[in-house]
Symmetry: C2
Subunit: 222 residues, 2 copies
Amino acid sequence: MAQGGGGTRHQGGIARADDATLGDEALRGIVALLRSGELKPGAIVNEAELAKRFGMSRGPVREAVRRLEGRKLVVREAYQRARVVTLDRAAIVGIFELRECLEGMACRLAATHMTDAALERLARDTERAGTRNAFTVDYRFSFHQAIVDGCGNARIGTVLAQEVYDLVRLYRWSSGALPGRAGAAPAEHRAIAAALRKRDADRAEALMREHVRRSMQMVVTA
Amino acid sequence: MAQGGGGTRHQGGIARADDATLGDEALRGIVALLRSGELKPGAIVNEAELAKRFGMSRGPVREAVRRLEGRKLVVREAYQRARVVTLDRAAIVGIFELRECLEGMACRLAATHMTDAALERLARDTERAGTRNAFTVDYRFSFHQAIVDGCGNARIGTVLAQEVYDLVRLYRWSSGALPGRAGAAPAEHRAIAAALRKRDADRAEALMREHVRRSMQMVVTA
DNA sequence: GCCGCGCAAAGTGTCAACACTTTGCGCGGG
DNA sequence: CCCGCGCAAAGTGTTGACACTTTGCGCGGC
């Protein structure tokens, strides 16, 4: 009806690759900046600057920043500028406590909901990762991700992604890089996969919780 | 510097009571509409209409709706209008599974973090609620709330509030209204309070999880 | 030489207007 | 009488401009 003022959808210069809205694009752009490390924790998020950079108006950028606030990747300073969140020790512990109970629950549910084929494949991949030097970030991601995806509760996955994984990525806690961790984790993964294959929900949950708790200690004591 | 276009902060008519931003006010207003039942699940959320109603421009309303999307109280239909979320049986189960593990964890943490005085008071209030006809919505809210608040992990409380309680309120699941539930729940509460007072984290968590699981069954089988 | 005041600059909050997309209804053909 | 086409209406996406608030720096007084 009446709105776009600018109405510059295809006029502004760069054409959008996909059909998503500019707000979505801004969101992806900012997240990319966070992951690339260009926007570090504590850095100020400037609407106008980002708008200029992305070749759009402040509106969509503002919307994206607000959404990131909802995901707690950005905090607002009183009445003023937005900053990339900074986490103290207590906040880190809190995040891992959240992760512990969520991934534990996902594991419990996965013991019931995942198919035999999926569990078989999980066990195989886990085995391979332990014997080789394949304990990469990608692999670990896929192990936890496979369980969360297979647990049958998408909401748990969403919460984990937004409240935990994004923040973990922001701080680059690759606990696997810590000495001794890369050696212990594969064994724990194998034990979890084994419990899942036996459909032992209680044991799978307990093992996963312990696994997460251990990786927290690696991060916190570092 | 340059912004308000409208610049109608105090000109538009109604003066804002507090110092919060209009976007915050719009958010509160929409949540109030949800709680009052005027905006039912499945209802269309119209930016312009709400803007007119709240006496503000579409901008802040839009922002509020986007934030509610982040809280999953509102879903966006493809490219189009926003709707109040509707939940099927699977979604309801998912929400209670989330609640189970989060409140369970909160309970575990509370067993360590809450002060003796706070636990004493919790036990006293719980006792009173069981013996009288005081098993009201307010009371139950305060029981669970006291534990979550006292667990020392604010993030768990935030997630619960946004991912669970808001949705529960939206659907008015007062499981206490179901026959037999008002009788069983107080006893379960007392057992949880007792375990907390003994600082028995494992038992407190297990009892709380069972408690939540039972109230889910009341809702789902109804 | 140091502290406080005041002004300029930067940044966010808000608005009205315009562009684009989808929906819904009426009209004509079959 | 039913179906499909096209146009009007409604709604969201986006923009540039203006209001208000905070920050930071320079200047003058002490």
